[in-house]
Amino acid sequence: MSKRLTGILTPIIAVLLGIIVGTIIMLASGYNPVDAYTALWNGAFGETYYIGEVIRQFTPYILAGLAVAFAFRVGLFNIGVEGQFIVGWLASVWVGVSFDLPRVIHLPLAILAAMVAGALWAFIPGFLKARFRVHEVIVTIMMNYVALHTTNYIIRNVLAAKSGDKTEQIHESASLRSEFLQSITDYSRLHWGIVIAIVCCIIMWFLLERTTRGFELRAVGFNQHAAHYAGMSVNKNIILSMLISGAFAGLAGAMEGLGTFGYAAVKGGFTGVGFEGIAVALLGANTSLGVFFSAILFGILEVGALNMPLEAGVPNELVSIIIALIVFFVASSYIIRIFLDRFSKKEVK
């Protein structure tokens, strides 16, 4: 069996296994899995409203997944996508509420602010890694907390409206919302962000696979010694990859700030989008196309799950379990690969 086919089959089998084990768990706890999955399906595709919500849901997942995948391809594990997402969210909203500009300037400016904020937040661990070999996992985890509490402070003390834990609504000129997209999806919260996410998928693919810069970034990811030998600057590429990764994460934040919500609120804890990005990247094998599809799957599962308690009386936490199982099976894809290899060996004989 070719490597490529194995590479495609592995995540698909992982998803199926996750669903099968999820079914067993439902049966064991006395729920009807057929009803549950029907409810999930209806909750994701039953009405155009739900389809719009699914797309809205997976838009930031794509960008968060790209952020994790991009760093990973250069050999870095960016756990800090959550933090970069949060600062990106706030930065976009800050620009959105502070200026009064024509839309052609205001919207790009707000988006740019999110990218810059995310990139700067990721620059710190990237720089520490390049300069002092401090492990990026530790620093990015810490930076998540710093991001959470700093943004909360800023929202409360600088930007909050009278109510005290929420910024004002961004100006219309900075909003990604679209009358048109809302009207065709029965007034879901669908916004233009999906276009940005798709463009970013293409950018990531082109940058990594087609440019000399991508050639360097991937070489550093595979073998730093050989990259150094070939005259590439390992440190420069490490920092650059974190900047780009952070920019993707910041953009994911802008999707919420300028699209879904239009404001930033004090958060009691992490949003989870950044961590979802890790799962998305893992399932998508760190390629931009893979990230795109796995983000869609996660979006479907999470939006559809909301319908499960209503229609089938099944708690939507079960979907969290299924998602966790899928991630588990992908992470242990080694087992799946062994089975596929066995299977293909038998075919030869």
């Binding site: 070489a219 595979f222 030998y229």
Partner: protein
């Protein structure tokens, strides 16, 4: 005559590829039996069959006359077969004793009696003349000593038959001598040895008989006393092999590389290159001879910019290169065939074609405005692959999938094709078979004849003597002598490498 192991008419296929085709190997008790073949000839496959890692499609294995069915390595161990692997299987942070008993720990109430184990290790090591310190940590001992630990591991497990897989590949000349002695001692103590190698000199020195395989086929078994290296080489390669590298007289011109008073510190902060001075002229090959660890690797890393230098100067065609970036140094006309091709030479997960442009992917025509031009990249790759006889299914095959010799040819192709004024070749033939070695030597000499300067680092004295026009002996971070290969002997070089001065060494050989 009694055979301890017989592998009769072994055939092993992988898919459609026949790795072993009707190979017979019979090991007599108390002999050193060499298994000779080029890289990829099927030596490892055969040994893995013996070890139970692969099941043969045809053929029979007998141990002491009894047919056996070896289905996993534990059975091989129980039958008294032990293997000293080329890449050591040792835990760096464990002591010698801990490594030896690992997996065979004798415990009392769940506690390992390390004192007793150390004593046992000491006993075995004295009996077979394998000097090791049972309490030393693996990370603190030399490669030669690590290999002795591997040998002890097999003996501790009661091996009667010891397989050595390319044992000398990682050793210095002195350590190789010691290893030969160890093998002879093992034979005296009643063990039998299979020696996998492609070094003819070693076979001639220690082996009793030699089985040759070529492209998966058994060519035959010869008595070493009745053959000579030339015959063995042609049996292995299937054609005549020229040993004495043919070359014209060198016509050296101006200095290309001038290293002056160079000081380089190693990771521990010791000045490992310590005031070194060396010239390489256009149109000559300068070989650096020395025992590993005397600063030769660091010297090359300093010249190529991979390591920071403390002081001194490195000039190429009169231009200072000291502490420039590797990119700048490469662009000023230095080609570098690195010592460790997996670590530095290749991105193993890149296709071989992309590895061929690893040094100039950013230049035209391989890219334009920062966008790669894959058509040009693979055109160049095709050219190098055919010119340098890189055997690969295609230029899109991952570098990882190629054999060592073909990986090396690709690297040499890449570096030579850039036509650098100075070509640095660090152990360019390490682990390669005679056919590939011949090819690489020819290419180095070709560069020289084209008026380029070549700096060759090798731990193989034969290679240094054969290929170089001048030999610079390095000792404790300094060039202690520069000799003409035609006017020196291996003995003199050996003494110089060990630190005796020129006069003493000279007297030693000429008297």
């Amino acid at each position: 005559m009694e055979y301890v192991i017989e592998m009769l008419n072994i055939r092993k296929e992988f898919g459609g590829f026949v790795a072993n085709d009707n190979i017979t190997l019979q090991l007599k008790k108390g002999e050193i039996h060499a298994l000779l073949g080029e890289n990829g000839a099927g030596k490892s496959t055969l040994m893995n069959v013996l070890f139970g890692l692969y099941q043969p499609e045809q053929g029979e294995i007998r141990v002491k006359g009894n047919p056996v069915n070896i289905t996993n390595p534990n059975i091989a161990n129980d039958l008294g077969i032990g293997m000293v692997h080329q890449h050591f299987m040792l835990v760096d942070t464990f002591t010698v004793t801990e490594n030896i008993i690992l997996g065979r720990e004798v415990t009392t109430a769940g506690r390992i009696d390390i004192k007793k184990a150390e004593q046992e290790v000491r006993q075995i090591s004295e009996r077979y003349g394998l000097a090791v310190d049972p309490q030393a940590k693996i990370s603190d001992i030399t490669v030669g000593m690590q290999q002795r630990v591997e040998i002890l591991k097999t003996l501790y497990r009661g091996a009667e038959i010891v397989i050595f897989d390319e044992p000398s590949a990682v050793l210095t000349p002195q350590e190789i001598k010691e290893l030969m002695q160890i093998m002879k001692t093992l034979i005296k103590e009643g063990k039998s040895i299979i020696l996998i190698t492609h070094k003819l000199k070693e076979i001639m020195e220690v082996a009793d008989r030699c089985t040759v395989i070529r492209k998966g086929k058994g060519i035959g078994t010869v008595n070493v006393s009745e053959t000579n290296p030339n015959e063995l080489a042609s049996l292995m390669v299937g054609r005549e092999v020229v040993f004495k590298t043919e070359k014209k007289e060198a016509a050296p011109k101006q200095n290309v590389l001038e290293v002056n008073d160079l000081v380089v510190k190693d990771t521990r902060g010791v000045s490992i290159v310590n005031g070194l001075t060396l010239d390489v002229r256009a149109g000559e090959i300068v070989g650096i001879a020395g025992v590993d660890g005397n600063g030769q690797s660091e010297l090359i890393e300093a010249i190529t910019g991979l390591r920071k230098s403390e002081s001194g100067s490195v000039k190429l065609n009169g231009k200072e290169l000291l502490n420039l970036t590797p990119r700048k140094i490469t662009e000023s006309g230095v080609g570098h065939i690195p010592q460790d091709r997996h670590k530095h030479g290749l991105v193993l997960n890149y296709p071989i074609g992309e590895n061929i442009v690893l040094q100039n992917y950013y230049k035209k025509p391989y890219s334009k405005n920062g966008v790669l031009n894959f058509r040009e990249i693979y055109k160049q790759a095709k050219k190098i692959i055919s010119e340098f006889d890189v055997r690969t299914p295609s230029e899109y095959t991952l570098a990882r999938a190629l054999s060592g010799g073909n990986q090396q040819k690709a690297i040499i192709g890449r570096e030579v094709d850039r036509n650098p004024d100075l070509l640095i070749a660090a152990q360019p033939t390490r682990g390669l078979d005679v056919g590939a070695i011949e090819f690489i030597h020819k290419r180095l000499i070709e560069q020289r004849d084209n008026g380029k300067a070549v700096l060759l680092l090798s731990f193989e004295l034969d290679e240094i003597m054969n290929v170089s026009d001048r030999i610079a002996v390095i000792y404790e971070g300094k060039i202690v002598a520069v000799v003409n290969p035609k006017e020196t002997t291996e003995q003199e070089l050996g003494l110089l490498m060990a630190g005796s001065n020129r006069k003493e060494a000279g007297e030693g050989t000429h008297v």
